[in-house]
Symmetry: C2
Subunit: 325 residues, 2 copies
């Protein structure tokens, strides 16, 4: 009795998440080099930049230069993040090169909505109605509902599955009102509150209501449980994951200045491949990409795997180790 | 349908594993302070030192001073590691304070046996016969068979479940020949080759042969999968785990100079408690102990949880964060 998927779709967000949080600046050429290296690993979905307010996120002032600069590999889908009409217009200027997917983005926590967006959940619902309509008016299909803080919140505490359900219902109401057809729910553990038990509770509740909806997990390793959470998701048959090479990213939230970033792509890939779940990714090539990312940011990244390397043997020579276990 | 245990027994090995690998020296008083702090967290099994050859492991030259120095808390079991008669004699000098358990220690990998002990598996079996008899002659019951490299080996590659079974059989033969009654198999992922899939394969094979034997997992986070591996173990009903506070430890093996240490006790505790599995440990007190360990060693430890803190809220004030997921 298993729900294990035969394969999963990994969405690499290292370039976008990682270079957004680094004190930087990271050279445009380095960003391009990492994107092109990642495309050679077998990854087929790479988020390459964020079209955000340059004043708020100076690390992405060069978004256009990055998108313009990298050589796209056929078969790989490249995306750019946007939050509003201005960001969308900037993305649309590269529609020959980027895949542009529309989204309704909500948060299961009122406290985090206020912190993150300076508005109430009700105000955010209204804003998302306009944003959904705007995206479609510009020819971008809105197919995804994203729910941030789906497993807990630094500003509000525990988030119940009922709050996630309620948020998804709000998203579906926005979609219905604006004529969007939703095919994907993305559940984000924005502040690292997920645990395998919480993943199971939320996924089971969502599944019981929308059994046919495609689900995606966006996991952070803030409290060290990201890979265990992915393991729980895989056991439940969740087939889509966001991740970042090397564990790029980090946590900009209060009280967690040294917290880890997203789940490491390479640890996720190793987990899947070992479970017999195909990722399409060459693990050793990905580990090399993680090492490149580490060299680019100039400090140790959270990934253990890029430091240990994948399974491989070394000659038994040199001193005796005297290990006990 | 679940095999989830109601509670688990955690064996804290941070003081022994951690201070063995640090370039040090770590002050004896600091070791004692960490041991006493750990005993206040609810942990009931703490390995406090290693009675090893001081030339090979200079970090434990002060084993006697540490054991002599800490104040034992009633109800907490303190142990010291030993490999041979000399180490056992040093431990027995503190039998009023230490719990002394006998063990038969083998390795599922011939390559690692040679590297670690400079002997063949067959020679190690002979040595363990003598060691088992010696322990019992000194009044120490031998109840445990430990198998190192049970999930893979840097010097030999994959280790099959059949090799683990064969090693356990060798251990049981030693026990039978020397009159030892074995109640526990400890399976160690010495070089970080375990994955949830490998854990499942090995545990299921062992269980099918010895359904009533108590099993223990000793996990390393070398490739970032330790918590996921513990999750797999818990799902299979494994009730005993070794771990180190803060993820103290590290990997002395070839090719892995920056590799992580053991599974973090605090991440294991959070995982269990969230699954409804009792550990008896106060997570926040344990996180404070991890922070003390980090202060003592003077560099960042691998634990994410000691940096992020346990679940807790902060007031929603300050700047807007503009997170996307």
């Amino acid at each position: 009795m298993t729900d294990l998927p035969t394969d999963v779709e990994i969405h690499e967000e290292g370039p976008r998440e990682g270079f957004q949080i680094e004190p930087g600046p990271i050279a445009t050429a380095d960003k391009i080099r990492l994107i092109e290296t990642l495309a050679q690993t077998g990854l087929r979905h790479i988020q390459v930049c964020s079209f955000v307010n340059t004043r708020l996120v100076p690390g992405w002032a060069d978004a256009e230069a990055v998108v313009d600069g990298f050589s796209a590999k056929p078969g790989v889908e490249y995306t750019g993040l946007f939050f509003n009409g201005n960001g969308l217009d900037r993305a649309l200027a590269f529609k020959h090169k980027l895949t542009i997917n529309g989204s309704i983005s909500l948060t299961a926590s009122e406290g985090f909505t206020r912190k993150n967006l300076n508005r109430s959940h009700a105000e955010n619902v209204e804003a998302m109605k306009k944003h959904s309509a705007l995206q479609q008016a510009k020819g971008v299909a809105v197919t995804r509902i994203g729910v941030m803080a789906a497993f807990g919140c630094n500003y509000q505490g525990d988030i119940s599955p009922a709050e996630v359900i309620s948020t998804l219902r709000d998203g579906l109401a926005i979609a219905a009102e604006t004529g969007a057809e939703i095919t994907l729910f993305s559940l984000a553990d924005t502040m690292g509150w997920a645990t395998p038990a919480r993943i199971e509770r939320v996924i089971n509740e969502v599944r019981s209501r929308w059994p046919d909806m495609l689900l995606s997990l966006h996991l952070h390793d803030t409290r060290g449980l990201a890979v265990a959470n992915a393991h729980a998701g895989l056991k439940l048959g969740v087939t889509r994951y966001d991740s970042t090479v090397g564990g790029l990213g980090g946590c900009p939230f209060a009280g967690q200045p040294k917290a880890a970033g997203n789940i490491c792509t390479e640890e996720l890939v190793m987990l899947c491949e070992e479970m017999g779940i195909e990722t399409g990714v060459d693990l050793d090539a990905l580990i090399e990409a993680g090492r490149l990312a580490e060299a680019i940011v100039g400090h140790q990244l959270p990934s253990e795997l890029i430091h240990a390397g994948s399974f491989g043997c070394v000659p038994a020579q040199g001193g005796v180790t005297r290990s006990s276990d």
